[in-house]
Symmetry: C2
Subunit: 285 residues, 2 copies
Amino acid sequence: MSLGQITIIGVGLIGGSLGWSLKKHGSCDLVVGYGRTQESLQQALSMGVIDRAETDLAKAVQTADVVILAVPLQAMESLLVRMRPFLPDSCLLTDVGSVKVGVVDAVAKVFGEIPPTLVPAHPIAGLEKSGVTAARSDLFEEQRVILTPLPETSRVALSQITELWESVGAEVECMSVDDHDHALAMTSHFPHLLAFLYMQLMGRQGGESLLPYAGSGFRDFSRIAGGHARMWRDISLDNRESLLPLLTAYKNQLDDLFDALDNQQGDDLESLFEQARDLRNQYRG
Amino acid sequence: MSLGQITIIGVGLIGGSLGWSLKKHGSCDLVVGYGRTQESLQQALSMGVIDRAETDLAKAVQTADVVILAVPLQAMESLLVRMRPFLPDSCLLTDVGSVKVGVVDAVAKVFGEIPPTLVPAHPIAGLEKSGVTAARSDLFEEQRVILTPLPETSRVALSQITELWESVGAEVECMSVDDHDHALAMTSHFPHLLAFLYMQLMGRQGGESLLPYAGSGFRDFSRIAGGHARMWRDISLDNRESLLPLLTAYKNQLDDLFDALDNQQGDDLESLFEQARDLRNQYRG
């Protein structure tokens, strides 16, 4: 299988790792990397992550067979506007965003419809680091990638994007945009919000003077609050429709916990903690 | 230095590790372990964690120079009631509980006053495992131990318990009971509650069907929800006076976050996340 020319828009950790993996596995003829500046593109070239670097968006996409958007969520719409005039009709269009509703809305707005070539994708891979220097050619091996094809998506497009991810070792699964965004809100985006709010509270309750008394529980629980602030702003805004009801539900649980503690309802507390623990202990990862 | 006979009430992970460490460092003449049943005591004897096993509380404490309570928080008061008639007046009394207000209240209730021999202590060491089989003779090396002496505590008692912990490699620090309980509520107890509530929410929003989509962020954030339900019930109840105001403050923050998300106030979100990240990134541990 060869997917022809693949153009990656944004050669950071995910875009870079994907280009590198595709090259390693011979999945395509050519990997073109598009970026705003030469610096990270030259780094990507010297690492062997891409075959060709482009800072001209038209040149980057006009001969592409697949275009992969690997830029921050809030940057996707303006890039789609700028590339639209140069994008071949048959070119497959996919992305690697953590929220799917936003990119689908952006494509619908820019194209006036959902083109049959659109196959939104989300590789569930580590996001702690960033930038092409953190890229790895094995980042997606045995990692889950969720595709969220739309009713308008063609079977051929879906099949080819599936092959693309499988060629780099990923395990591909399909679900609806809504199911994806709800699942990721619950498993990833919402805990990030909770961790950020927790650190905000610590800042108000003593701040860094408390850190010497923090142990391994704190270390692990709060690690995700060290994440990229702008990226999490984008994810939160894009996925707010899934996140808002979770915030409300969690607030109600806080009320119930407050009452149970205040009334010293030990059995209720223990039962809550047991159920939480039982679900947590089913996690294998 | 020798502290004479040290009796450890409850030979689990912490009590067992402390006995083992004291023996290894020659900090005392004799380590007696008290437990309700022979089984874990025999295990402790065979591991060399204690010198002598006792299931008779009177025999365990009547010749002791130091008694260390290393039992669950909710068990302390009844043990104090039972040992009180046999405890020598000069015997130092300390503990290893995660909350200090409860043990101080229990001692005051059982003794009718705070004796000058009381030196509450809290070694901040890993609690993920439990039982004497998880004990280690180096568990406290370079680990922080907080002592919370009372106004009634004698200088000699404080000095000897300080020496006890320093002899096993711990870094000893003193603070008030209230300061300790507030600091630990913020750095340890409150995040446990948040993690338990998060798993409760996941249980209501899809439960185990969501776990396949959970990555390393989930893994670390929710790890502490796998903790010992009864122990965390005890800690929560004992430290409720510090925890309840944190629950209220956090709920207010959830309200503010809800509004910021609902109104798409991207700058406010990014600023919140940045401040949270900056504090988190000051953590060294």
